[in-house]
């Protein structure tokens, strides 16, 4: 028994000591958005298999969390690349620079559509952004004043809509999908009312960004698969989720028309379906040449094999950039042109 104890104690000491002298990293580290995660991982895997480098480690931390880690400093302890489902903010670039991360290369990889979907068994929905705002905002205009949202049925908003209960499952505020939905749909919908539009930025956002809390809008968690399952079980419910989940579950759920356009691959790619956002990743230029393979990874991500209409990322649900933008982006990315805000 004594031997066992000494042996385990020794093993503990040795393993800690071994880690203290951690060797230089030979593997790219990527953090960031959970929306970009499926694409980033697909590239990482292919990159690991087809190059002489190790497959990068990709963490899903959310866009904001990723940028925070990315901007923490230069050196092998910090990630080399961060994915983001929104553009990096000015304040974040400044924070980066303050920590010594001065040169950042921005790579735009494509678009992600946000679908408003429902079960195949439900009645077809044809919505406008104004109607979605009226269905989901906490406060809506009525006459000359703002009142707590009184709408219970879709047909209360507009008689052309089905006579079913408003029941919308959406992402929680921590999710990038929610941010994008608010920005692309709720704010646009609110702008349809001149009285709200002329408000100051703060008052406007207080109305446009607040979702109702009386049970008609349900925060269903970050897992889009869960939302899809709930839609299947409840034909009345409507869900808000990423396009790739609609694409994968086309036999069970259908997308609602927004402003007369259905969420399809083509409609998002040509820009006619408006509820879509750009996806990015950011590369720390100071790490290029220190951590092996960064340039090659960027080249793989922006290659036609990955990022074109027929690339493997399109199979995963990424909506690619138009060819001209793609070429310009590839040039900037492989040339590692730093970002200027």
């Amino acid at each position: 028994m004594k031997h066992l104890l000494t042996a385990t104690a020794l093993a503990a000491v040795v393993s800690v000591a071994a880690a203290g002298s951690a060797v230089a990293r030979d593997q790219i580290r990527i953090v960031g958005s959970s929306t970009v995660f499926p694409f980033s991982t697909a590239v990482a895997e292919t990159f690991g298999k087809t190059s002489s480098f190790k497959a990068p480690v990709v963490e899903s931390t959310g866009s904001g969390g990723g940028i925070k880690l990315f901007c923490a400093g230069v050196g092998t302890d910090h990630p080399d690349i961060t994915n983001a489902s929104r553009r990096i903010k000015n304040s974040e670039v400044e924070k980066c620079a303050a920590n010594g991360v001065k040169e950042i290369v921005e790579v735009k990889i494509g678009y992600d559509g946000i679908a408003i979907g429902q079960s195949k068994a439900g009645a077809d929905l044809k919505l406008t952004k104004k109607q979605i705002f009226l269905a989901l905002a906490a406060k809506v205009p009525s006459g000359n004043s703002m009142v707590a949202n009184p709408y219970k049925l879709w047909s209360d908003i507009d008689p052309s809509l089905p006579k079913t209960k408003i029941e919308v499952l959406g992402p929680p505020p921590t999710s990038g999908t929610r941010d994008a939905f608010v920005e692309l749909v709720m704010r646009e919908g609110a702008k349809a009312f001149p009285d709200i539009k002329k408000l100051g930025k703060k008052e406007f956002r207080a109305i446009s960004d607040r979702m109702r809390e009386d049970g008609a809008f349900i925060e269903a968690g970050e897992n889009d698969n869960l939302i899809v399952q709930k839609l299947e079980a409840n034909p009345v419910a409507v869900g808000i989720f990423g396009f790739s989940f609609l694409d994968q579950n086309a036999d069970k759920i259908k997308g609602a028309e927004v402003e007369g356009v259905k969420p399809t691959f083509e409609a998002i790619a040509d820009g006619s379906y408006k509820v879509s956002r750009s996806l990015y990743f950011y590369v720390k230029k100071a790490h290029v040449g220190v951590i092996p393979g960064i340039q090659e990874y960027v080249a793989e991500f922006t290659s036609e094999k990955a990022a074109s209409d027929e690339g493997y990322l399109a199979d995963k649900g990424l909506i690619p950039l138009p060819p001209a933008d793609r070429n310009a982006m590839r040039k900037g990315a492989t040339g590692l042109v730093p970002l200027k805000m």
């Binding site: 028994m1 004594k2 104890l5 385990t8 104690a9 093993a11 503990a12 393993s15 800690v16 071994a18 880690a19 203290g20 951690a22 990293r25 593997q27 580290r29 953090v31 959970s34 995660f37 499926p38 980033s40 991982t41 697909a42 990482a44 895997e45 690991g48 298999k49 190790k54 497959a55 480690v57 990709v58 963490e59 899903s60 302890d77 195949k120 970050e222 897992n223 889009d224 698969n225 990423g242 790739s244 989940f245 694409d247 994968q248 579950n249 086309a250 036999d251 027929e310 493997y312 199979d315 995963k316 649900g317």
Partner: protein, 438 residues
């Protein structure tokens, strides 16, 4: 002081029944009511057990019914022509095996033309087919220059179709598998070029974005390394702390304070340990992110209180007569502990340790903060290599859009449950075999 009368103790009814030897109706009704109350109570207990067991069956049943299909996979036979011009035998890894697989498919369906049609055709087999073709060459270089029938994995959608999860009667637009693919697959089937086999990829490889290539082995190895570190740290520290507190420490305010704190530590939510790990081990000591080493240290903080509490209970259960006897024949305190008390308490200590380890095995929250929730293709080779653990792998798959990951998720859960049952069974066996009752 007078003795309390019998009536005062047992109540008036008892005295009456005792003295007269018969029960009036009121008393009989009371007894019947008591029996009924007991029967009701027992029925509630049985109902609770039935309720719990049916929940368990529902859970396990749903996991097994969705997960069992992940344990087999469909394969498609291709006659691959290993062209001498394509493969350089001095560097066989560099050849374009994707091209070879594609030309084998084209040769199988010569009538398919057009870019999109060909792309769909090539999508019948997994992107892993290239590596399977490469493996064939690496195993047997003499194949170069010949044509050989190779069984390659079907892609995830085709696999789902062959497993019967895709409804052919749906309109084409609603299906992931289109009509022309159905025709091709049916032809391959009648040619005997489709078969199923056990899913060995699942047990052999790391994570992948393609469901048919995604394996659990990377996560199993990651869990193993993490638990190794946890055990190496928490077992000696936990047992020594317990021995000191139980056998040597004086009973005073300080030891009371320590005891209260250990008990509180056992109730701290695990995410707190993750934050601690991030702040101390990653930011301060600069240990590597996503490494089983840090994961193990964090989890050992979590299991320490469990081990200390279980070990103290086991030490307490050793009767004082053993200690006194040993002291009586002249053993030192140290000898009493290491020669007699510890060996006798060991089965109980090990049981507690295993239960603590099983808890650590299922933990994800603290690992989130230290970067172990990550996509990692390579199977880790040591405690400082980036890795995930089993529950994290399950979480990542559950979040993936591809439908075929649903079955993989459940299969992963089954594997994790299997390990947990194994560990708990070990604890039970240890207890049954070696524990001594006094």
């Amino acid at each position: 002081m007078t003795e309390p009368s019998f009536e005062k103790i047992a109540g008036p009814g008892a005295a009456m029944a005792n003295s007269k030897g018969l029960m009036p109706d009121r008393e009989a009704a009371l007894v019947r009511r008591r029996y009924r109350a007991e029967a009701r109570f027992k029925a509630l207990g049985v109902a609770a057990i039935v309720c719990a067991i049916s929940m368990l069956f529902l859970l396990v049943g749903s996991i097994i019914s969705t997960g069992w299909s992940a344990f087999y996979q469909y394969e498609i036979a291709l006659d691959i022509k290993f062209d001498k011009a394509e493969i350089d035998l001095t560097n066989p890894r560099n050849a374009n095996y994707g091209g070879l697989v594609k030309s084998a498919l084209s040769a199988q369906f010569p009538e398919v033309s057009g870019r999109t049609n060909k792309r769909t055709l090539y999508g019948l087999v997994s992107s892993g087919a290239d590596y399977q073709a490469m493996e064939v060459v690496l195993d047997d270089p003499s194949v170069v220059g010949n044509t050989r029938r190779v069984w390659v994995l079907a892609s995830d959608d085709i696999d789902s179709l062959l497993k019967g999860f895709i409804d052919r009667s749906l309109p084409e637009a609603d299906r992931r598998v289109k009509n022309k693919e159905l025709v091709w697959i049916d032809r391959l089937k009648t040619d005997g070029r489709v078969r199923w086999s056990m899913n060995t990829v699942f047990w052999k490889s790391g994570d992948s974005r393609e469901p048919e290539l995604a394996g659990f082995w990377g996560a199993i190895v990651g869990s193993f390394f993490t638990l190794l570190v946890t055990l190496a740290l928490s077992f000696p520290v936990g047992v020594l702390a317990a021995v000191y507190l139980e056998e040597f420490a004086p009973k005073n305010r300080w030891t009371d304070f320590i005891e209260v704190n250990i008990n509180n530590l056992a109730a701290v939510p695990s995410i707190v340990f993750g934050l601690l790990g991030l702040a101390v081990f990653l930011n301060f000591f600069g240990l590597p992110r996503s490494a089983p080493l840090v994961g193990g240290i964090v989890l050992s903080l979590m299991t320490l209180p469990t081990i200390i509490i279980a070990s103290r209970a086991a030490l307490k259960a050793v009767p004082p007569s053993i200690r006194e006897a040993a002291l009586g024949v002249g053993a030192s305190k140290h000898q009493v502990v290491t020669h007699h008390v510890l060996p006798l308490a060991m089965p109980g200590i090990l049981t507690g340790t295993i239960i603590g380890m099983a808890q650590a095995l299922g933990e994800t929250a603290p690992l989130l903060m230290i970067g172990m929730v990550a996509f990692i293709v390579n199977v880790p080779g040591g405690v400082t290599d980036p890795s995930t653990v089993m529950p994290v792998q399950i979480y990542l798959w559950a979040d993936s859009p591809e439908r075929a990951f649903v079955a993989r998720t459940s299969a992963g859960i089954m594997a994790l449950l299997g390990f947990l049952i194994l560990m708990n069974a070990l604890a039970v066996i240890l207890r049954k075999r070696f524990e001594r009752r006094w």
